[in-house]
Subunit: 207 residues, 2 copies
DNA sequence: TGTACATCAGTGAACGCGCGTTCACTGATGTAC
DNA sequence: TGTACATCAGTGAACGCGCGTTCACTGATGTAC
């Protein structure tokens, strides 16, 4: 053996981490193998020492980004007082900072549409990471049965992902800011359509 | 003049319409000029008789898809009784049918992430179409001042877009269905986090 | 009504280029003595 | 401690291919007479 055993793994990890930045920024088809290796400070020739195909790296990079987001959420959950954690997490997600830094942000607004066009294994991989995110967020919702908390969390995540996607797509003007702001209120359940028949049907179950 | 004046325009339109299907299905980078022309029953050579560049067609195709969605919403708004229109529109959007037919569905879940990586003119074009959608949806929300209605509509659209993006990305299993279902409740404002301090701060303004 | 002509939408070969992938090699590094 | 060797992570030229774009052409069609 010529290099210490960890060297290879460190390089592998460096490629994956940098690729996860480049792919979130440019989309799964927006950067080449040459470009991805350059991000890690390498040339393209050695790529297949580490990965079986470009698609394999894409999968690893998305998984890495998702894990990073789960870790960030767990970290936020531990830092805040119990009653503010749900709101704090939403505010963190729906911030101009997150909108303007796709590269270091959540993989879902950046890459989920691409994953939707990928194969079943890529979709299953994303699904399991998304379930983790739902679980972490659901635990921050007090006074709800687990099933209801999961439902609220799922809806909040959908709102957050959609808000980031749209706020990025329209640029950085007034509309973009208002999408973020409204997304926060909607995800927290603070913007409500005035209940009509819906009240009798469902809304009163809990209140 | 050799062909009737409308012939050229009809071909142009046929290319744009078919491209809007192909691009929603495959992403803005997922189909070539050869492929796009084939969808219109043509060969690639004539492409530049109609468009200055591939990017120009992509722009036209996205605008076409957005207009189609606005028209669909206006149509739904006219077909339903006043009190059900908001819910009916959301149910139409967050249906398995829409999830499974990206090709003929809303351009936002399919292509907004790509637009976010495009130039300012593409983003401005999308923004103006999105404003139309917000306007149409806001008008279906009764008993609210225009500004509040617009805000509710904006949040609902973000929730709808995020729900479709995620439900497509995780495949068509149980989780996917529950994302659609939960998206409906969230977009309608029927899933609510139990109000804590948020109640005093904001929620009571209207009720 | 029939024929010769002009137009131009559409064709398909060709362009240079960047893509993902392969492969013979190189040279930095850990080990043996 | 110093030297010779073996390993293998990383290099860069090369592959066939599909891309966006260009261009000389063709042939279907409306017009002139």
């Amino acid at each position: 053996m010529r290099y210490v055993e960890s060297h290879r793994r460190q390089t592998y990890r460096r490629i994956v981490e940098n690729a996860s930045l480049g792919l979130r920024q440019n989309g799964t088809k927006g950067i080449s193998v040459v470009g991805l290796m350059k991000l890690a400070g390498l040339t393209h020739g050695g790529f297949y020492n580490h990965f079986g195909s470009r698609a394999e790296l894409v999968g690893e990079a998305i998984a890495f980004a998702m894990d990073q987001m789960v870790a960030r959420w767990k970290n936020l959950a531990n830092k805040k007082a119990n009653g503010e954690r749900f709101e704090a997490l939403i505010a963190d997600y729906l911030s101009p900072r997150h909108r303007d830094n796709a590269k270091q942000g959540c993989a879902l607004p950046a890459l989920a549409a691409d994953v939707a066009r990928s194969g079943p294994s890529e979709r299953r991989a994303l699904a399991s990471k998304l379930e983790e995110m739902i679980e972490v967020l659901a635990e921050l919702i007090p006074d709800e049965a687990p099933q209801e908390a999961r439902q609220i969390a799922t809806g909040a995540i959908a709102t957050m992902v959609g808000s980031i996607v749209l706020s990025r797509a329209v640029g950085t003007g007034k509309l973009s800011d208002s999408i973020l702001e409204t997304g926060r209120l909607t995800a927290e359940g603070r913007v409500r359509k005035p209940p009509r028949r819906a009240v009798e049907a469902i809304d009163c179950k809990k209140s």
